[in-house]
Amino acid sequence: MTAELIIPLLAAAIQSGTPILYATLGEILTEKAGVLNLGVEGMMITGALAAFVTAQATGQPVLAFAVAGLAGAAVGGVHAIVCLWFLGNQVVSGLALTIFGLGLADYLGTPLIGQTAPGFDKFAVPFFHGLPGLGPILFQQDALVYVAIVLVPLLWFFLEKCRWGLNLRAVGEYPDAAAAAGISVLRYRWIGILGGGCMAGFGGAYLSLAYTHLWTNNLTAGRGWIAVALVIFAFWRPGRALLGAYLFGGVMAFQLRLQAVGTHLPSSLLLMLPYLLTVIVLVFSSWKSHQTDAPAALGVNMEPND
């Protein structure tokens, strides 16, 4: 392959990896607080729809992006209410959230199918865009790509270097000890869930505002679930999440290219690639990882003591 093929492919990899990156970062935050939220797909698609509708109504992509974050957080809030207040099973609640979110987006989105909305366009970053190779890959993207990249060190800083981040991790590792030290377990778990939902909503907004500009059915197509798998691949570290998301973006972009070129391979087999890769990546990262990578209290509710 020559540079003319590789450079657009890498640029497309970053673009299709970005929604997954947002969602993965969000789920890392949630899981670090000890809460498993399998509703990423549902929060993402709700965010995508909220962004699309807002952008259509106001013509303000930035506002639409913010609304998507709120919508994702609102759906996440349902998970928080069910699991934190009512001690519902986290696995089942997350699944219910996905079923609900997909249904809601389908229900409200059906009349919008095929319509377009104003969104974020690619622009050339002054000075840098002309760099050979790197320019077209990194510096001719839309603004949301850079927001996602900036979120990576921010999340790392919050989790590793910040008092609040330390508290949040304590709540995810050993909630009883955290509570004894005077940290409000529920408050930090609320923060984890709402923050994660907000970022999943951003990921959805990226799909409808930057990736397509167009509403279609089933816009997320399993990306939320891929994000859940990537958290394990990333060993709950934001930096590795970036790597994993772009890797998946690459496979998706590659698969689309192959379909466009028109190989003799049937499209259903090509479409299978990202899902197959998820399984393979998950298997190998689980095999290599240590039990200690996952937050110790992940998925366990804290019962009120009398």
């Binding site: 399998l38 549902g42 349902v78 209410i81 069910v82 207040w85 009512f86 001690l87 519902g88 099973n89 696995v91 089942v92 609640s93 699944l95 219910a96 959230l97 996905t98 079923i99 609900f100 979110g101 997909l102 249904g103 809601l104 987006a105 389908d106 229900y107 059906t110 399993g222 679930w225 859940v228 798998a229 394990i232 049937p266 259903s268 087999l269 479409l271 299978m272 899902y275 197959l276 998820t278 399984v279 998950l282 298997v283 190998f284 689980s286 095999w287 019962e303 009120p304 009398d306």
Partner: protein, 354 residues
């Protein structure tokens, strides 16, 4: 300001889970009615259409039972896995593989009599679904891969395999380009019971439900399974072969969903086509959890959620409400039941002044 505090009940009250379920359904209905209103549709009439569409005539009740068959089988499968705390989200994919297995038999031996062909189709569906359940079990045991994600990814992969077959290899040359296989030969179609529209899959459901009830109640493996689900450490100390149990459970879990796929392909659409995938596998998870993993209540809950689907079809017809309305209600019911179950285990009382 009320000062409330929660306390754990010594013994959960028996009737409270019924009450929670009823409350959850009512709350979900209310929220759904509100959503109809938001879309500018008559809310009360909508709810009435929902009920009348599902339970208003003999024909519609038969339709509910027909749809309850695959939901019940998938849900039974999901429930055995959940009992062992194995989160099998893959009923949808196992259903697809079962349908593919049965279709393979029907297309390969179209001239065999029903007495040979139907058992062969059931056998292939068992193998297809069982295999699709065994893969995540092995990956979990050998490589510690999370079964939730593996089973979910296998759903997407299974649906794409089904697409690949009906768009390509198995496509009926006389279908004018539509993605579907040839219609099955009459011998490959599960017959209907007496003069009803209901197929013999209903009897298969009764048998499977009964076998599962006996299995959990009277067999050693069933007991071991229950114990292992409740306490993994006890399993290790008691020397219960956990790995074998996981494989066994996932094979049967997948096979039951596979049988649902077999019945759908054979009795309901008489061929394989992409529209066979309507999300029964996901509904099954909702059903299993609502029914608290008990075979008898799974029967009741399957019928109710099948009725919801039939009712939504009527709503779609009369008020042009998108089919996704059913998904919203399923999600809502499950969320409210999850939250409501709190009141089964915990009571609320006023905090005493100290």
């Amino acid at each position: 300001m009320l000062n409330l505090t929660a306390y754990k009940r010594q013994e959960p009250r028996a009737w409270s889970s019924c009450l929670v379920f009823l409350g959850a359904v009512l709350l979900s209905l209310a929220i759904s009615a509100l959503m109809l209103k938001l879309q500018g549709k008559p809310a009360l009439q909508g709810i009435e259409l929902l009920f009348r569409g599902a339970l208003g005539s003999r024909w519609s009740i038969e339709d509910c039972l027909i749809k309850a068959i695959p939901i019940f089988l998938c849900s039974l499968g999901v429930a055995i896995a959940f009992r062992l705390q194995i989160w099998n989200i893959g009923a949808e994919g196992q259903f697809a593989l079962g349908a593919i297995g049965a279709t393979w038999a029907a297309l390969t031996f179209p001239d065999q009599p029903a007495t040979i062909l139907l058992p062969l189709m059931a056998g292939m569906a068992f193998i297809g679904g069982g295999l699709w359940g065994l893969i995540p079990a092995l990956l979990k045991l050998r490589m510690r891969a999370n079964e939730i994600i593996v089973t979910l990814m296998l759903n997407y992969i299974a649906i794409l395999i089904l697409d690949y077959l009906v768009y390509g290899r198995w496509k009926d040359p006389s279908s004018f380009g539509f993605p579907m296989t040839r219609a099955f030969s009459p011998a490959a179609i599960v017959p209907k019971i007496a003069t009803t529209e209901i197929n013999w899959g209903l009897v298969l459901c009764l048998v499977c439900g009964l076998v599962m009830w006996i299995f959990f109640r009277f067999t050693r493996t069933g007991f071991e399974l229950k114990v292992s689900g409740e306490n993994l450490n006890a399993t290790r100390y008691a020397g219960i072969p956990y790995d074998k149990l996981v494989c066994f459970v996932m094979i049967f879990s997948g096979a039951l969903a596979g049988w649902a796929g077999f019945i759908e392909a054979s009795a309901t659409i008489n061929r394989l086509q992409p529209s066979i995938m309507v999300g029964y596998g996901y509904t099954a998870i909702v059903v299993a959890w609502l029914a608290r993993l008990n075979p008898l209540t799974i029967g009741v809950a399957s019928f109710l959620l099948a009725a919801l689907r039939v009712g939504v079809e009527n709503l779609q017809l009369e008020l042009q409400v998108p089919a996704a309305f059913g998904g919203i209600m399923e999600g809502l019911i499950l969320l409210t039941v999850l939250a409501g179950s709190y009141f089964i285990e915990f009571g609320i009382r006023l905090r005493k002044r100290s």
